[in-house]
Amino acid sequence: MTKMIPPQSVGVVAPQRAEFTEPLALRSGGTLDNYHLVFETYGTLNAERSNAVLVCHALSGSHHVAGTYADAPHNVGWWDNLIGPGKPLDTRKFFVIGVNNLGGCYGSSGPNQINPATGRLWGADFPFVTVEDWVESQARLADQLGIQRFAAVVGGSLGGMQAMSWALQFPERVGHVAVIAAAPKLTAQNIAFNEVARQAILTDPEFHGGHYYAHGVVPARGLKLARMVGHITYLSDDSMAEKFGRSLRHGRNTYSYDVEFEIESYLRYQGDKFAGYFDANTYLLTTKALDYFDPAFEYGGNLPAALARASADFLVVSFTTDWRFSPERSREIVYALLHNKRNVSYAEIDCPAGHDSFLLDETRYHALLSAWFDRIEV
């Protein structure tokens, strides 16, 4: 039977791998002497090399942003609804790149990869990486691909932080930046959620100080709990109420700790699924990168001063029901850019789905992104 590829899909894609031998100095003080990045591309780089768009991924994302795999037709990229021929980020116009970040668990150098210096898996010895380190490594990938300047760098959540950091670290190398459902830094509450997630992993008896691979186990319970906590914060109170309410699995109280309420079933299912494919060390590293991100820190907390370096045209988008990365945090970015006389537009999309809204193909949201990408001249 022939598998139908829907129209407007980039179709079957294949990841590529880039090797880097120039040492990368990390913000944490460590150095990666050599490393590799796994990435995918969609569309065609034009002769002027002026139509490249980098899509940065969030906490659990990967380089597989759009399309499917020949050997896994149901493995659809995480932002496939945005990217493709005729979609808002139109691959007939743009050359789109997705990269698995350093420290990730989808093939780029990270805890579940071999440390070239020892010949063993990195595990907990993989150094701490920051948003700035990721951007630095992405710039080196751009060098290898012959891309001097991105038409745009876009991302949601932690990906939005990377997009913002691009404008600060390489202002001359990015024309447009879309910061979606992000923040200029995490709040204490936000760091608190990350810390609960980390403690769940770190205290799992099968964590073994991060060297669980050597023991042939994974801290699945910790990772599951971490994902359950995270998942609660990605949804809104309303969307959870609408989806699950107080629905009971057995139609009555059973006075047990088994699944009773449907929300319990959902969270357990999501947690188990996630623990089955994601890496605990990557989860730890990535939540720390989220916590550390604060470009205004070295400017005494003055965000407008920190953003003065940026020269890109910005689009900032938030979602009304996103309480993990609330509209107020996005507005801080908008006003800081405005007060630097930078070009910036800002939309607050009315969407009930909470933080996860940024992954949906909500009509107004995608119409806005379409209009914004249409404006970009390549």
């Binding site: 507005r331 801080e332 908008v334 006003y335 405005l338 007060h339 006389k341 070009n343 910036v344 537009s345 800002y346 939309a347 607050e348 999309i349 009315d350 107004r364 119409a367 806005l368 209009a371 914004w372 249409d374 404006r375």
Partner: protein, 196 residues
């Protein structure tokens, strides 16, 4: 482009090249686009209607989603050279609040509004019907307008709030009215500043 609005001409004359401009209720962004082209302003529109916001993005202008009824929280004092509100003041509840905010974040404010004291409007009322005209195109049951005031009313409000009227031009369907503007003009355009 939508129909050219004659208050744009006046507003444009009051803007110096290269100014920082904020346009409240910018609609599809046509005025800002115009000011960018002929005055090279660094302009930002404010819209809360998603369709108009989208139209502004398509029009290539900066547009910020904000609910003007909540003021201009987040914008620095005196940052803008001009803060414009073209034919929108009558559609806001928080009239005094927004005027105060405009003059907080801007050196000057530019406000235009339909004059409910225009003679045709008065005539309509005398005939027992709410006015419908070029400047008041809606029926009473579907108008977005929530404040109904005249040029004289606005002058009194400025006086009461210590707002300096630096210039006022009034028009009858595009024609400048120097005499009896409160009776003869359908639209007024004000350039406002802070007293002292």
């Amino acid at each position: 482009m939508t129909a050219y609005r004659y208050d744009y001409e006046v507003i444009t004359q009051w803007i110096e090249p290269g100014e920082k401009v904020l346009d409240l209720g910018c609609g599809d962004g046509d005025l800002l686009r115009h000011l960018m082209q002929v005055r090279q302003v660094q302009g930002y529109g404010v819209e809360n209607d998603p369709d108009k916001l989208l139209a502004s993005v398509k029009n290539g202008v900066n547009v910020i989603q904000m609910d003007l009824e909540k003021g201009l929280v987040g914008l620095e004092d005196g940052f803008f050279d001009h803060v414009i509100m073209s034919l929108s003041l009558q559609a806001m509840h928080n009239t005094q609040g927004i005027l105060h905010e405009m003059l907080r974040v801007g050196r000057e404010a530019v406000v235009s509004f339909p004059n409910f004291g225009y003679w045709r409007h008065r005539q309509s009322i005398l005939n027992g019907r709410m006015p419908v005209s070029e400047s008041l195109p809606h029926q009473w049951f579907n108008t977005p307008n929530v404040r109904f005031f005249t040029i004289a009313d606005f002058d009194a409000l400025c006086e009461m709030n210590g707002i300096a009227v630096r210039e006022r031009l009034a028009f009858d369907e595009g024609k400048l009215m120097l005499d009896e503007p409160n009776f003869l003009a359908s639209v007024a355009v004000y350039r406002l500043g802070r007293n002292g």
